[in-house]
Symmetry: C2
Subunit: 749 residues, 2 copies
């Protein structure tokens, strides 16, 4: 990679910045995250605040073990999961912790450790070429990608700040000249395609440069961090190795641009919760540093407090057990127990008015940051201030202006049990986006009922493609058929084309959770398949005669051409029964040839002749039944993921698909019931059958659709949606089967 020389043009903006810089608050060390005054306060509380003390003991044990092991700085080599990568990663984490321990405990050994480690890196760094692994669009020197180098600098800056006064001026000079300055330059001016983006990568890059800039009192670096490189020589339309845009026409860069653009006004980060979690640490840590050093910037108030809102958005984007909904590229299992969220919750607590509900999350996390925000939280818990963190239904807008669709989370809680619907009608989500407009996932407490597959990658597991994205991520996980949404003619939304997908977002039609017994989200997607309009409406309805709320799903498709439409449901667990016959083949073939279909085994097939097709299954002690309205000659497939997977990278999870062929208009209607339970210890099966006697479309025209649900116990539910007029004060009048329905607003129930 060629290191580009960039000339700095003194713009008006920069001049303004320099003015601001002059007010750089603290001129002492530490001042970045820990402050001199803060350390004094923390020291006075040591031994008195259980959660803080416990976190301190844990950290001390970890760092002491590392000190006993000795400093190891291997030559850079290999991918994540490999020993050199993991050692450098471990080093920066321990560096930061040792720095903090030096401040809090005043023990020289931690100062010595940080100093010697930094001197070690300072000795090696000037000798380093680009990292030998060549697949990244922005290679690092310590790591295979500049991203990890930036991670290193974010942590090492904090360590250096803590131990600054301990290190002799001569050694400081070595460390700054041979390590920090060239490091910061390399990941910024030396890697503009990495640094000057709107992306979680560049956020890390910006913050790394900004953090060391503050420690070094270098306004130029801080300027670079906040506003990006003034000139980067990058061509608009350039893409990275994941297929994401490096530069879009007219795009701003730097930390503030990374706050402006990917965050919606609601605090939703367009890449999805998994990457939002990843970016939280640099975003909030740098914000804390800016607050300590440039309080005039009022960074926590920026964009109507979007940073703090983003913490709440993330906490809401979780299952009952705190695991994030796996929207877009997301490794399942990641949760608010991650270090990034410990830090985020602590910082949000301190800077967002000490919301006592955050203490409940912190208490679950069981540890705090070793700084003033962590102490504030630990004190709050010590003083029993916590209140429940209640996750309510929430509609999170996407897009910097909040107008690029969104993600609706609808929750229904009965006693201890919670059902959660997540409907995604967002924008593409940058390079980590999936082609899954109007897809949904559904959860029974923390159990995936109808799952989102997540990504195809084993993060940091070297055996699996160096821990990087696997090719099945593009060929399967990103494809539309991998999601619980409609596929037209076996092709993905936007033809699976990233540029096209990035131009559009779905549009909200209706989000109404004012009645806790009928919570609705409805959205339109008119661009995924040109010439075809899709409206999906999902309602979580609590109804007498049903043990738990059921999920009503209505999809109306209208196309200018004749198409095949597939609607998959990826369940988990064991099939219990169907109310129709199906065939299972002697040999398994794939369902199709491309666009993800090549990864599906066709495990069973049926031509449906029933009015209502029922599929029941058992998963983790609960029964589920999906009842669907079907038309004669609708096709049905049982599928299993895992075909054309030569390295067994995919999970072999099951699903089933409803198919309508040769249609211009099509309507899919189904109801998912969550019912009963089974324990292998008691061996008792309770309420193991569906309560639905009949599901029927009783009305459908250009303006309305009416659904009738008859329960076995005789309860009749009618749900009517006004499909073209969503005004809340609109009066409607409709006669169905000689019965008159009159109501105000977009739906009748």
């Amino acid at each position: 990679m060629k290191i580009k020389k960039v000339k700095y043009i003194k713009t008006l903006q920069a001049a303004l910045l320099l003015l601001l810089m002059s007010s750089l608050h603290a001129q002492e060390h530490p001042s970045l995250i820990l402050t001199k005054q803060g350390v004094k306060e923390i020291r006075s509380q040591l031994g008195k605040v259980p959660l803080f003390d416990a976190s301190l003991v844990e950290t001390k044990a970890e760092v002491d073990a590392e000190i006993a092991l000795g400093i190891i700085i291997p030559l850079p080599k290999g991918f994540s999961g490999g020993s050199a990568h993991e050692r450098h990663k471990n080093n920066y984490q321990v560096l930061e912790k040792a720095g903090v321990l030096y401040q809090l405990l005043g023990d020289e050994k931690y100062g010595i450790y940080v100093r010697d480690m930094l001197l070690g890196y300072a000795k090696m760094y000037p000798t380093l070429p680009l990292h030998p692994e060549k697949i990244s669009y922005a290679r690092g020197k310590l790591f295979w990608q500049a991203l990890n180098d930036a991670n290193w600098l974010v942590y090492a800056s904090q360590a250096y700040d803590c131990v600054y006064d301990f290190i002799s001026p001569a050694n400081r000079s070595i460390i700054e000249k041979d390590l920090f300055r060239p490091f910061a330059d390399f990941i910024s001016v030396g890697s503009p395609q990495f640094f000057n983006r709107v992306h979680n990568h560049s956020t890390w890059g910006n913050v790394a440069v900004g953090m060391i800039g503050i420690v070094l009192r270098d306004n130029q670096l801080i300027d670079r961090a906040l506003y990006g490189l003034k000139e980067d020589g990058l061509a608009a339309g350039m893409k990275d190795n994941d297929g994401g845009f490096v530069k879009k026409e007219g795009q701003k860069a730097g930390f503030l641009a990374n706050l402006d653009e990917p965050f919606s006004p609601d605090g939703y980060y367009t890449e999805g919760a998994y990457y939002q979690r990843y970016a939280m640490y640099p975003f909030l840590t740098f914000a804390q540093a800016l607050q300590n050093n440039k309080p005039d910037l009022k960074i926590f108030d920026y964009k109507n407090k979007v940073l703090l809102k983003s913490v709440y958005a993330l906490l809401n984007l979780t299952k009952t057990n705190g695991e994030f909904f796996p929207l877009n590229d997301a490794q399942k299992g990641m949760s608010y127990y991650s270090n990034e969220l410990v830090s985020a919750v602590d910082i949000a607590y301190l800077y967002a008015g000490k919301d006592p509900s955050l203490l409940t999350i912190a208490k679950q996390q069981g540890r705090v940051q070793l700084n003033n925000s962590g102490m504030a939280v630990a004190l709050g818990i010590k003083n029993n201030l916590e209140k429940p963190f209640v996750k309510k239904s929430i509609d999170l807008s996407d897009g910097s202006d909040g107008k690029q669709g969104g993600v609706a989370i609808i929750r229904s809680k009965m006693k201890e049990d919670e059902l959660t619907l997540v409907l995604k009608y967002a924008s593409q989500g940058l390079s980590h986006g999936h082609y899954d407009k109007l897809s949904f996932s559904f959860y029974n407490n923390s159990t995936d009922v109808l799952q989102d597959y997540g990504l195809s990658r084993f993060v940091n597991i070297e055996q699996k493609g160096g821990g990087n994205y696997l090719k099945e991520n593009a060929s399967w996980a990103k494809q539309t058929i991998a999601h619980n949404t409609v596929v037209q003619n076996e092709t993905s939304h936007f033809g699976g084309n990233f540029e096209t997908g990035s131009k559009f977002a779905s549009e909200k039609y209706l989000y109404d959770v004012s009645n806790p017994k009928v919570q609705i989200i409805s959205a339109n997607e008119n661009n995924a398949y040109p010439g075809t309009t899709i409206q999906r409406t999902m309602a979580l309805i609590a109804q007498d005669g049903f043990e738990k709320p059921f999920l009503l799903d209505i999809i109306q498709l209208d196309s200018k051409t004749v198409n095949q439409f597939d609607l998959p449901f990826y369940y988990l667990g064991q099939l219990m029964s169907t109310n129709f016959a199906y065939e299972t083949p002697n040999n398994l073939e794939t369902l199709g040839k491309a666009n993800g279909y090549q990864h599906l085994w066709k495990a069973g097939t049926a031509i449906l002749t029933v009015d209502n097709a029922k599929v029941s299954w058992l998963n983790e002690g609960s029964f589920y039944t999906l009842t669907s309205i079907t038309q004669p000659n609708d096709e049905f497939f049982f599928v299993r993921i895992g075909a054309n997977d030569p390295n067994f990278n995919l999970r072999n999870d099951p699903g089933f698909i409803f198919r309508k062929k040769n249609v211009q208009k099509a309507t899919f209607v189904s109801v998912l019931e969550t019912h009963g339970n089974y324990s292998p210890v008691s061996e008792v099966a309770l309420n193991s059958y569906s309560c639905i006697a009949n599901l029927k479309i009783i009305y459908e025209d250009a303006n309305y659709i009416g659904i009738q649900i008859k329960s076995i116990s005789g309860v009749e539910t009618v749900f009517i949606l006004s499909t073209e007029n969503n005004k809340s004060n609109q009066k409607h009048h409709l006669i169905i089967d000689s019965k008159t329905y009159e109501w105000t607003g977009p739906y009748y129930k």
Copy 2:
């Protein structure tokens, strides 16, 4: 079914019994499980013993809700999981509880409830024909099988005993004449094929008759229960609908015969833990009743205290979390949290010298029986008497004489982590046995590493074949290929023939756990394939240079003919890597046509050319690597369960198979390493690679096999087994590669 008239011949034995009967201890009610004196003691403790009180509150809430619901006695219909079946089942459970509450709380409403329920049954019972479902070899009247009728009577007898004094003599006369007496006769003299077996079914039948016999002071019934029907008219060789023997030549019957025969001297029950658990309730409850009423019988001392030993055997047959190893037909997930084990632990505590380690189990169970044994346990816990229940390595013999092979459990515990090997070298295990000689399963704490599939049945889930055994139980779950053991020529052990299998057991060759770092089980099987001898030796070895103990597996096969040998390993989780190339097919075909092979999809194939084949996988946060010694042209298959499964009854779990073709002698050697960990929250993969550089057979002849394991860090382990001489004092001398090995006993390490 014809009710057979049986004449009672007064034998010497019966005369003796009548003598014993005269000593029938208590002549008052209650006397069966609760006693008048016992009730007095319990009442004096109410409100003072937390665990007992909590169990009482829970039971009261349940019974009160049932009383509020009212008595429902439906006409018998349908299988388990169906509403009539479940209602009758619920009724007998509530009956027993209501009886106990009547005694403990003295509230008439419980007496009224029991009385009225029994009168209701007494009204219906005389009108009942055989149950309409016809598939059982021994149909009941209330339920589809007499087994469930017997369940009913075991519980109802206890209820009647508790409420006996409350019910008027006139009503007692109705209940006894129209219900209990004909009921007891029907399941005994009316169902000899059910009553006169050695089987968990007949145990229930015997106990039901014995319990009501004690309540009614009817020595004839008690005689029948203890010793079976003197004449039953059954033909030797007759089988039930599961294919199990009803009668073998010369077989004794009755409760004592059911204690004599299926229990080994170590307390292992030949059907396996799952059915042992099921039988525990009648065995121990009736024992308690006999102890209360016929203490001279000293039933708890019978066969060297086998009943009490059986409780310990069961507690040892569990994973770390208390779930039973799924030997033979066994539904996974069943555990010592079941009601049967609550009762078993309580009774064992009271009658086996108040072993404080049982209190630890009882505390985990979190509830006790509402009788004197439960009170004893609750008092022990209240007084903090409990000591840890330590599960050690244990070798449980099978067979009434302990000479029908056995089940070895080898455990290795490091800090909080426990690895467990279960090697089965037992007898057939009656009708619930599987054809799986020398099969094993392996556990990392409670995670199945190499699994035993268990049964193919969804117990009490009506949608799945009425909750009964599914046909895949015979075609898959019982077959040899479904287990981690050797298959010759794609046929199951004993040709899958139950009669043949029932004649043989494997023979223990060596069980030695004296050195906690080298724990060994070795057994021979010479009858599964006539003309072929199999010796399998498994050792759990803790070795420097390895994070955790590894499992060494040596199988030596010697045949008179040329054969194909398959050795499957059923892992769970995600494949990480192999050190050899393999092909994956475009379409999936089955691995074979019959004997379980028709249920396996062939997901990948390889012809091996490496000396050591390595397969690594990740499951629930741990890595595993199996390293196998292979010879040129050995074949390898990745398989997945689920072919020819038209109702999706099977779990689609993965496995891999090593195949050696056209060989007379064959040796399979492999080492399973449990290593490292991965968390999706920290995203750190630790120690994710195998430590083995090379695995080699360094010596093999008719008397010895020597294995060398070289670790990557340079540690060399040599293990030598004397394969024909297992004497512990035998001296051995062997030269391998010019190095002399001298040792005493069957193995060198």
